[in-house]
């Protein structure tokens, strides 16, 4: 990536609010994510991390605020949100693979139906992605026969098959057994190295310290701290952050 690309703004969030009836989940979140940046989102449970991420591709409908993806206002009334979502890959805590399809069919589904590419091309691309996540031999296997870690890697390949500009990870390793977390984080680490713009809700300290450029620390629906992993982990000024890190370390 060139220097100019590095400074290009991918996501801009301005004063984002989300309310579920009486519950104020997001209280005015604003931030900017640049191309190839890896942003970790941390915070105590109920702080609005997942909701924040899910608002950015409008899986949750924000109550108010502006969101720009590659300069496009995705809250505008005329916007085709499905088109926007093809640019943002998303990986869920519970994998959400389609159980009636094999691994390769899971990966091919969206490119063939949304991007309208041919079966052969989709298969070739899908197999390349499966190779990338180390699961070529599992191509024709159904999700229920895969381990949690393998399912999550297929889910990552499925998201990448749409060739998105941005990847969202919503607690990708929280539902995994400890011995499977590593294989998923390895795949994510490689993506970060290749320059993918990533937003990751996670508490995997090792991964964040190594791969993240920035940490957003959320509490009560607000960004209370925004800094590099070193700043947050070692020189945090905010008592909420210090208290939280003290609990998980």
């Amino acid at each position: 990536m060139s220097e100019m690309n590095q400074s290009e703004t991918m996501i801009e969030v301005v004063d984002l609010h989300k309310r579920f009836k009486d519950l104020h989940v997001l209280n005015g979140v604003s931030t900017v994510v640049k191309r190839s940046e890896v942003v970790a989102i941390m915070g105590p449970s109920g702080s609005g991390k997942s909701t924040f991420l899910r608002c950015l591709n409008r899986l949750e409908e924000p109550t108010s605020g502006r969101i720009y993806i590659e300069g496009v206002d995705i809250m505008a009334p005329y916007i085709d949100i499905n088109r926007v979502r093809t640019e943002i890959g998303m990986v869920f805590q519970s994998f959400n693979l389609f159980p009636h399809l094999t691994a390769i069919e899971n990966i091919k589904l969206a490119p063939m139906s949304v991007r309208k590419i041919s079966n052969k091309e989709a298969t070739d691309r899908g197999m390349a992605l499966l190779e990338k996540v180390g699961l070529v031999e599992k191509a024709t296997v159904y999700p229920e026969q895969l381990s949690g870690g393998q399912q999550q890697r297929v889910a990552i390949a499925r998201a990448l098959a749409m060739q998105p500009q941005i990847m969202f990870f919503d607690e990708p390793t929280s539902a995994l057994d400890p011995e499977m977390i590593g294989e998923v984080l390895d795949v994510m680490r490689n993506m970060a190295k290749e320059g993918m713009t990533m937003m990751v809700v996670s508490h995997e300290m090792g991964f964040i310290r190594e791969a993240a450029d920035r940490i957003l620390f959320l509490a009560d629906g607000l960004i209370v701290e925004d800094g590099t992993p070193d700043q947050i982990f070692n020189h945090s000024q905010h008592e909420r952050t210090i208290e939280f890190l003290g609990k998980i370390l």
């Binding site: 899986l59 979502r85 519970s94 389609f98 139906s113 889910a155």
Partner: protein
């Protein structure tokens, strides 16, 4: 010390056993049971009336015999010390004695049963009409199944949009047709609608009534199928950029179909059985064909044949839908593992 305790327990154990034997009630001892049986047999030979018109005292004797026989059977059947073989024999003997009593005293024309119920000649005479009725029944069943599937699926899809106004009408539709007896619906369509200028043929009225009723159930089945799909599946599809229609076609429907097939087959079978109701609006389906031939030939054999035909059609189907349900539950268990 240990010796003392063990000898003591041995003694109590023995006395336990003794008391148990001592406590077998007299009614359950073998001698009593066989004695009772001999009394029953003697009763049967000496006191049961012969065939023919029965007086009040005769009926009383038969009833007393039945009661005594049942008491004897129950004494053995509820005795845990008696063998399983003996209990099986008791069950068979109950059937045999009941059958024998019925044969002996019911005023049925047993000798003519072959001629009346299983008269091949009569069935042959009725055959062309019965075959026609059979095809009409099939036509009704398939017509209703196709109509109810299309309408029910559409209703369930519309319901999944969660539009309050649309939902109100769909719920009203479902409630109305589930509450309405099919035979009333048929008569309304066939006999009342013509007054408004809507005249449907009998067979169309039948299909429409059956289809309207069945579609209400089918829509509920599909709705349950849609609800069984986890929210994460739809979110994953959305996040990949699939629009609503693509999500429905590629993600929700294929998964929902697997869930709904067993209850759907059960519903088709129930609906197919209801085709017999169409005989009430002058459709000559299988039942009506059997009935009319019975009247024409003054012999119930065609009707018996129709009964057998219904059983031949629906016994395997009910078994099949039960099998599907079992298989479905087994596979769900597997997925959860």
């Amino acid at each position: 010390m240990a010796k003392l305790i063990s000898s003591q327990t041995a003694v109590t154990g023995l006395s336990d056993l003794k008391s148990k034997i001592g406590h077998i009630p007299i009614t359950r001892r073998n001698g009593f049971v066989y004695g009772f049986l001999s009394v029953l047999i003697l009763y049967g030979f000496l006191l049961l009336p012969s065939r023919g018109p029965l007086g009040t005292i005769d009926l009383g004797r038969i009833a007393l015999f039945c009661v005594l026989f049942l008491i004897w059977a129950m004494i053995i059947f509820t005795d845990e010390l008696k063998s399983e073989k003996m209990k099986t024999a008791i069950v068979f003997s109950l059937f045999i004695v009941a059958g024998w009593l019925y044969y002996q005293y019911a005023t049925a024309r047993w000798g003519e049963m072959g001629f009346l119920f299983f008269n091949v000649e009569m069935i042959q005479k009725a055959w062309p009409t019965l075959v026609e009725g059979f095809w009409t029944t099939l036509f009704l069943a398939f017509g209703a199944a196709i109509m109810s599937t299309i309408v029910g699926l559409l209703l369930a899809v519309f319901r999944s949009f969660n539009n309050p106004v649309l939902n109100f009408f769909i719920i009203a539709y479902v409630d109305f047709f589930r509450a309405m007896p099919i035979i009333v619906l048929m008569m309304l369509i066939y006999y009342a609608l013509p007054f408004m200028g809507i005249s449907l043929s009998a067979i169309m009225s039948g299909i429409l009534a059956l289809g309207l009723n069945s579609s209400a159930y089918v829509s509920e089945i599909f709705r349950a199928g849609f609800l069984s799909i986890k929210k994460g599946q739809i979110e994953a599809a959305k996040a990949l950029g699939l629009n609503g229609l693509q999500t429905m076609r590629l993600v929700i429907l294929p998964q929902a179909f697997r869930v709904v097939i067993p209850p759907l087959v059960g519903n088709y079978v129930a609906s197919a059985k209801d085709t017999a109701l169409a005989s009430s609006i002058s459709i000559i389906e299988l039942l009506k064909a059997g009935l009319s031939q019975k009247s024409l030939l003054a012999n119930p054999s065609p009707l018996i044949f129709v009964t057998v035909l219904y059983l031949v059609m629906f016994l395997p189907l009910t078994r099949f839908s039960g099998y599907l349900e079992k298989k479905m539950k087994a596979s769900q268990r597997q997925v959860r593992l």
